[in-house]
């Protein structure tokens, strides 16, 4: 073998070894790949969770993580409930987003669109198996090339609450509570005929209600909204019919959720879509209504809705391995279960829902609600499309439906207008 030949082989071997080393070092950013030993400091941001109820939980959680990983430091910051989106906007615009942030899929979608968030499916491929598939899918954005932009954290869904006294007063059978939208509308119309001071519905439908009715919300590519299809029109027509028969007040065209809860507590509203918090709230703040409370599954014709919260990792974090490791730690099965018990929510980690806390009945009404909601989680879907982001889309939908109900335009025109607006915004951010 000539010297040149040996040199050539050595060069090729060297390049091959170098490539292997490089691919091993830079291609994978999982905490394990980073060498197993984590160090440094990261900032972890939650949303309205620093209070008497949750502060001890997070302090213990952080202390346990830091003990397991000596040399690490987690700085926990919490933002108040009001103006959280504004805070995220300001941080994102200034490039000052914390390393691990608590947020829903809508905010995550916008930030992922701007390239601010880490695609955890790519960076941490093993993570997928640790969570419920539907939760993982909820954080996987088809409109952004199918990346997953957050570790699923907790889920929330809840039952429907009914005022049985109003059912009796307005000629309805309190033992036949509605379970589908058709049943709800039918009973609402009966109620409108028999009572002029009580109502079944007090709010315009939101995008997740369209999903629950079986309306296709987006195309398969996740690039266009489609809720103006005939099924969507049919859904809003039921509201229009109800409004015409005085089963909806003019206030209902503009009500937000807080007003709906107030109306239910005041005994003027027969149906309230609630969460697992609602039962306790009604017990404490509306004891008279609590006495005649009927509880049923969440109204849905297709599948019930649930909401998801996630922990996202900043793509520009200076300590990405630690950020990922901590986000995974907070969302692991044991910690999710502990948090779910504390916060009356449901874990998104695989297998956690089989815990007897979600399956064993002890006869308490609160347990019954929890068990029914847990059973509902198994068939529920996160209907709210993450691309239907920001309050502007939701406000426009509500306004357009109100205009259709007031007769200013047809239902089709109203939904077309809303879809056009949302598509335009989506395209502009893409």
């Amino acid at each position: 073998m000539t010297t040149a030949g040996r040199r050539g082989r050595a060069l090729i071997a060297g390049l091959a070894l170098g490539s292997l080393l490089l691919s091993g070092c830079g291609g994978d950013t999982t905490p394990q790949a980073a060498g197993g030993s984590l160090s440094g400091t990261i900032k972890f941001q939650t949303w309205n969770l620093k209070n008497e109820k949750f502060t001890p939980y997070f302090n213990e959680l952080i202390a346990a993580f830091e003990k397991e990983n000596p040399g690490t430091k987690i700085t926990w910051v919490d933002q108040p409930a009001e103006g959280y989106q504004d805070k995220l906007s300001a941080d994102a615009a200034a490039g000052a987003l914390p390393d691990v942030v608590d947020m829903g899929p809508e905010a995550a979608y916008t930030l992922a669109q701007a390239g601010v968030l880490l695609d955890v499916a790519k960076a941490d491929p093993q993570a997928k198996g640790l969570y419920l598939d539907k939760a993982w899918q909820a954080m996987t954005f088809s409109g952004l090339g199918g990346g997953t932009y957050g570790y699923p954290w907790y889920l929330n869904t809840g039952p429907s609450f009914f005022n049985k006294a109003l059912f009796e007063k307005c000629g309805l059978d309190p033992d036949k509570l509605p379970a589908t939208y058709d049943e709800l509308f039918d009973q609402a119309e009966t109620m409108a005929k028999n009572c002029s001071d009580a109502y079944m519905i007090a709010r315009m439908p939101a995008i997740e209600n369209f999903g629950e009715y079986g309306v296709p919300l987006m195309d398969a590519a996740g690039k266009k909204f489609t809720y103006n299809d005939p099924k969507g029109v049919e859904f809003v027509e039921r509201f229009k019919k109800l409004y015409a028969s005085k089963g909806l007040t003019e206030e209902a065209l503009n009500n937000l959720q807080t007003k709906e809860v107030e109306e239910f507590k005041a005994g003027r509203l027969a149906y309230l879509s609630g969460s697992s918090y609602t039962l306790n709230d009604l017990k404490e703040t509306a004891p008279d209504i609590y006495k005649s409370l009927g509880i049923g599954p969440r109204i849905s014709t297709a599948a019930p809705n649930m909401y998801i919260e996630s922990l996202v990792v900043n793509a520009t974090s200076e300590n990405q391995p630690l950020a990922m490791a901590f986000a995974k730690y907070v969302t692991n099965a044991a910690n999710q279960l502990a948090f779910a018990k504390k916060a009356s929510v449901f874990p998104s980690s695989a297998g956690s829902m089989d815990d007897e806390y979600f399956t064993k009945d002890d006869g308490d009404p609160a347990t019954k609600v929890r068990l029914e909601s847990a059973a509902q989680v198994k068939k529920a879907i996160v209907w709210w499309p993450p691309a239907f982001s920001g309050s502007a889309d939701a406000e426009t939908l509500r306004e357009q439906i109100a205009q259709a109900l007031l007769g200013k335009k047809t239902v089709q025109q109203a939904l077309d207008e809303s879809v056009k607006y949302s598509n335009e915004r989506l395209a502009q951010h893409g």
């Binding site: 930030l111 982001s389 920001g390 309050s391 502007a392």
Partner: protein
């Protein structure tokens, strides 16, 4: 040497000295820099907080910029979109109507009030303080008070029902026009005290002998008010007209609170500033589009101010 010759020499000497001082560069330099140093803090504030943001808004208006994307130049696209946007038409109409209705009331009512409460008695002081109270209240608190008052089951409807004046509750907060007029009422109620104080200061500058002369001529209170008070505070009326026009066209808080932040049923009560807020805030803010709406608003307000200034100047010359 005569006195006259001495005087001439002295004058010539004085002129030369002045000329030499003018030529002395450092002194001249010092005199030119010093005023700017005094102005510097104010200039920095104006440039950083007013001029630069304004120029940035101007730039944004011609781009498809979003909060997280700087965007590209799109020419007049935002303006084309704006004029096709039904919400823009509604917002422009509402803000214009607000200005047209509120400004005359804001100019006239506080003047009447100030004329009535211009005395020095202890009771007058109490009345003036009472009238000023809404000014120091937060618009949100005021909005909440009036929301509860005007609600379907609020105090006003209860009162009307008790008096059997209405068969059905008046939809103050759900009917598009009633809500807009309710918000105008709240604005006037809040602003009365503020403008009254300005008028009180102006009234104090009217020569009391004019009132004596009017009384000797047998003028009654109305005639005295129209022929003495109004001409005496005409320039203040102009100032209040300008201030209240700008405030009325930019109305936000009153409608925002009365509609619970929604812009009314079907968005029928949305105003220009509410539209800008909706488009220009949040993670999905369309800063380019919001900038274009802001620019149109600026042009309208600028036009309004120029028109008022021209009108006032014409009145002064005539």
């Amino acid at each position: 040497m005569t006195v006259s010759a001495q005087h001439k020499i002295s004058l010539r000497w004085g002129r030369r000295r002045l000329h030499r001082e003018e030529e002395a560069a450092p002194a001249t330099h010092r005199w030119r820099v010093t005023p700017w140093l005094f102005l510097l803090p104010a200039l920095v504030v104006i440039v950083v907080l007013v001029l630069l943001p304004f120029l940035n808004t101007l730039r944004l208006a011609f781009t498809d910029s979003t909060l997280l994307r700087s965007g590209e130049f799109t020419g007049w696209e935002n303006f084309r979109r704006m004029f096709a946007d039904e919400r823009f038409g509604t917002a422009l109409l509402n803000s214009t109507l607000y200005t047209v209705c509120v400004v005359p009331l804001m100019v006239a009512l506080p003047l009447v009030l100030a004329s009535l409460l211009a005395g020095t008695g202890r009771l007058m002081g109490l009345f003036r303080t009472t009238m000023y109270l809404p000014v120091i209240m937060s618009p949100v608190v005021v909005g909440l008070i009036w929301t509860n008052m005007l609600d379907k089951r609020g105090l006003v409807n209860e009162l009307l029902a008790t008096l059997k004046a209405v068969a059905e509750p008046v939809p103050f907060l759900t009917d598009r026009w009633l809500l807009l007029f309710s918000a105008m009422f709240v604005t006037v109620w809040m602003g009365l005290g503020y403008y009254m104080v300005i008028y009180l200061a102006a009234l104090a500058n009217i020569d009391p002998s004019l009132y004596d002369a009017a009384a000797m001529d047998g003028a009654g209170p109305v005639r005295t008010f129209l022929n003495v008070t109004v001409p005496g505070v005409r320039s203040t009326m102009g100032l209040i007209g300008v201030l209240s026009s700008v405030a009325a066209f930019r109305v936000f808080g009153e409608i925002y609170v009365l509609t619970n932040g929604t812009g009314g049923v079907g968005g029928g009560d949305i105003t220009m500033t509410m539209l800008i807020q909706r488009e220009g805030t949040g993670l999905q803010a369309r800063t380019g589009y919001a900038g274009a709406i802001s620019l149109v608003m600026f042009v309208i307000l600028g036009g309004l101010l120029i028109a008022q200034l021209v009108l006032q100047r014409k009145q002064r010359t005539s």
